[in-house]
């Protein structure tokens, strides 16, 4: 067995790896391709950057392709992204043309790889229209939606649905996000990689050194939110919570956001966050390069409480990452956060900045409960949200697509 598989086995147990190898054997000699819109930054890129190597270690023939596009294309896909999460608005004729043109161009560039693949995973809306350019595709195509599409903007969804409907199946993170589509809609949670730099165990000295390097004092309890500077992550609501807590407890707030190549809105939201922080020396706003995995690991490991006060959330992998580091998380009561945080067991789901503030004050004044909830959080991730489990589900999904039997119970 390879060193990488041995490292995974140390975390999830040899039995899990044996089970994955047995499933992978059934997909031997099948060509699998993943397509998304960025190589780095954001949850999808992070999942693929660990899932693809793990799949290869298991003996699968897997590749990962990234579509290309100019600023106008990514501005357009950002509108689609936000609209699927419920924001009002429509796509103009020229934006539709930009979207289709970029998809056509990428389809042409990737045609040799995609035409003959046995399974193609298309992630999120950006490359979704490419399927229309492959009328004679050989394999099964799956649309993987990572977004909270529970109440999409109707006109934008109707536009995208024309393409999505052509897929053989789709995958959503939660049943709440599924739509009326003429094909099977599987429910699979995303996951984190326990052996990557972002999630490995770091010693205290490295954590303190990182905080020091970033100019953040560790003399006061630290509240952290790690996420893109995106309106749906509600960084302004986090600052509001901080101010309420600050009336009672002297704390520091760290807002750490990554850069994503496919997110043109970052600058605007960041500027609003800086205005709201108003030069408060106890608020640190960090715009980290997309490869700052070890730094984010140290920030999460050293925080007293982690927040993810999203108002919309596909899944919330930063919640999973913090839970893996034994942190109780205060999260918005939305999307995939609902699946991860169980009130009073491993964190709290909240609706308002005030709700977040009261829960954080409680945790800071009850260290024993905080520690217990942190332990629960790690175990919960171990059992449910590691990359090994996601890959297992996706591999069995592919096998299930090959079946001709109509029964829901099948021997393979």
């Amino acid at each position: 067995m390879s060193d990488i598989l041995k490292q995974y086995a140390e975390v999830v147990g040899q039995h899990t790896i044996d089970s994955l190898l047995a499933i992978a054997e059934r997909l031997k000699d099948r060509k699998i391709v993943h397509v998304n819109s960025t190589r780095s930054g954001g949850g999808v890129a992070e999942i693929l950057s660990c899932m693809v190597p793990l799949s290869i270690e298991l003996g699968l023939d897997v590749s990962w392709e990234v579509i290309e596009g100019d600023e106008s294309f990514f501005n357009c896909t950002k509108i689609i992204h936000n609209s699927l999460q419920g924001t009002a608005g429509t796509l103009s004729e020229s934006q539709i043309n930009t979207y289709i043109k970029a998809n056509r161009k990428n389809a042409e560039r990737l045609k040799d790889i995609l035409q003959d693949a046995d399974y193609v995973f298309i992630h999120d809306p950006q490359p979704a229209a490419m399927i229309g350019m492959f009328p004679k595709r050989k394999g099964k195509w799956l649309w993987r939606c990572h977004i909270d599409a529970s109440s999409p903007n109707k006109s934008v969804w109707q536009f995208l649905k024309k393409y999505v409907a052509a897929y053989d199946a789709s995958i959503f993170s939660l049943a709440d996000f599924a739509q009326q589509l003429p094909h099977p809609q599987f429910i699979i949670s995303p996951s984190i990689d326990p052996i990557c730099e972002k999630n490995i165990f770091l010693d205290k000295a490295e954590i303190l050194k990182t905080y020091s390097r970033l100019g953040i004092g560790t003399d006061k309890p630290i509240i952290l939110q790690v996420s893109r500077f995106d309106r749906f992550k509600d960084p302004l609501g986090v600052i509001e919570s901080y101010r309420i807590i600050k009336e009672h407890v002297d704390i520091r707030l760290v807002l750490a956001g990554g850069e994503a190549d496919d997110d043109p809105e970052t600058g605007e939201i960041l500027s609003q966050v800086r205005t709201a922080a108003n030069g408060d020396p106890d608020i640190s706003i960090l715009l980290l390069p997309s490869d700052s995995h070890r730094t984010i690991n140290a920030l999460q490991s050293g925080a007293d409480v982690v927040m993810q006060k999203s108002v919309k959330e596909g899944f919330g992998l930063t919640v999973t990452e913090a839970m893996w580091k034994k942190k109780p998380v205060i999260g918005g009561d939305v999307g995939g956060i609902r699946l991860q945080i169980i009130n009073r067991f491993n964190g709290y789901r909240v609706q308002t900045p005030e709700g977040a503030a009261i829960r954080i004050r409680y945790l800071l004044s009850h260290p024993w409960n905080k520690a217990k909830m942190g332990e629960n959080a790690k175990r919960y991730v171990l059992e449910n949200f590691l990359i090994t489990e996601q890959l297992r589900r996706e591999m069995t999904l592919l096998i299930s697509l090959d079946g001709k039997e109509s029964s829901w119970e099948r021997w393979i």
Binding site: D18, S19, A175, D176, I187, W408, R410
Partner: protein, 226 residues
Amino acid sequence: MNKKIRPFRFMECAVLPLATGISAQTLRELRSAVSGIPDSSIYYHFWGRMIRPHISESEFNNDFASWVNNSIKDIKLAEVLSAINPDRFQKLNEIRVILENILDKRLENEDFLSWKKADRDFYFISCKKLMFETSCEASLPEELPSAVKKASRQSFFYHFIDGRRRSPECKDDFTQWLEQFPDETQEARKKIQKIDPYLFSLEELKEQIASLLEESFGKGGENTDV
């Protein structure tokens, strides 16, 4: 002993959840939908929950009871629904009928809760269950503890949780296999049968069964062909 002993062959299992597109906002909508959902949806909401994220502290043993409690706040009805022991029914449709009867009875009383809109919708989920053989097996009771420890969560689910559903006598696969050794395994079988699978997470159950088997048959079998 002349009788040929058959080894315990470990199977793997995957339960893949599928959205049905059917949801309910009220008890009446739940009642109406229950009649039309596929059998696999009944399976998923009673058994499938064991293999997806859940905690042992969960008070209710099926999704219908949890939703009625958490989103409708009809605690009495939630308690009645939670008392359904799905292992007692051989056919999934029998559980559907029980559900229909309980909900019909509840809806005869047209009070506020019977038409209250839920805090969160109930999403009916169906599933596909795939099973396949593995090379792992145990030939003697002494080999079973280490083999159970080495089994994946999904394999354990298949043999312990799903096994009870498949057996007309509501016996898990381990118990049935141990019956080949009637005298030496009698005590262990009784103890296994007493474990309530709905009160623990899958990992907790696996640990419990493995240590119970270890206490009964020792830690032998480390060389089991796994």
